[in-house]
């Protein structure tokens, strides 16, 4: 993301010009005055959210996209298996794919659950959404009130605010590739 500390002006101008629109043209589509767009782009005013939304509707672009847009490139693209940062303890290990860059969109993990591994009876709860695919072995996943046994090729996807728990109840290690957003790692 562009962090966008408070330089909404430059950000809006970049988006507007990227879409090949003049201040007047955008103003007409958005139902605001061209003067307002000029003022916003100079950071001489901090627009109300409703005004900013009107302006973005004229592009069109959602508020979420506006605040999430990124122009900077990711510093590292390729990761050899042995380059991945290893986290966790003996029973559960996570290999983080993305570098620890602030504001990246998601966390991609290569997880290994040893036999008996358990994320704990006090269920996990955090923000965002997560999903994964089982590559090898079996895992018992509890999400909310429901518990299921997942094998190779099986998958899951849920909002992380729902309490959840991973347990390897088998005798083989279990390997999962998962992604979560926003990144909690």
């Amino acid at each position: 993301m562009s962090e966008l500390n408070l330089d909404i002006g430059a950000h809006l101008r970049a988006v507007r010009t990227m879409y090949g629109l003049s201040q007047r043209e955008l103003a007409k589509r958005a139902g605001v005055t061209n003067g307002l767009i000029s003022l916003i782009e100079q950071n001489r005013v901090s627009p109300s959210v409703s005004s900013l939304k009107k302006v973005l509707d004229g592009i069109p672009m959602s508020l979420a996209d506006f605040f999430t847009l990124d122009f900077t490139a990711s510093p590292q693209v390729f990761f050899r298996s042995d380059e991945l940062a290893v986290m966790g303890d003996r029973s559960v290990t996570y290999k983080l794919v993305a570098p620890r860059r602030p504001n990246r969109a998601m966390a991609l993990l290569h997880e290994k659950y040893a036999p008996g591994a358990d994320t704990g009876a006090d269920m996990l709860r955090h923000q965002g959404e997560e999903g994964g695919v089982v590559v090898e072995g079996h895992i018992e996943l509890t999400v909310g009130a429901e518990t299921r046994q997942l094998g190779p090729g099986d998958a899951y996807y849920f909002t992380s605010a729902i309490p959840h728990r991973f347990r390897n109840t088998g005798v083989e290690p279990c390997e999962i590739i998962s992604a979560s957003t926003p990144p909690t790692f």
Copy 2:
């Protein structure tokens, strides 16, 4: 994303209470008055972006996260391997993990590239970020000017605006589990 058409009030209230903060407590941390937070949560005013940022700083939460957050639960959590929707052609097949719900945070895919499979010389380009881990076989990935050969356990992560291309130049099929955000599937 929560789309968040313009009900910022309810959204802010949900976030604030989720973090266990009172209007006054948040106001103190944010350096604004409690009255303002009350007005915002009732949608009696549309806060300026600068004010909203001040408020979110008190939580703390970024503007991007605020406009991207989703509270709605996923309708389906568990997916058996044979339940996953299969897409693509013979040479490249994608199994989509998440249901086709609007506004989910990301797309999680189980991809299989047959020998010779190629996403094409006219490189792919779209918004967002994507990453993946190779499970089986080998794949040649080009991102921007760089090309690399990836094997089991290797991974990648890049912003999707950079032109990219996947090719299976080997004789074995290649299996990848990938995630992209925002979801393009």
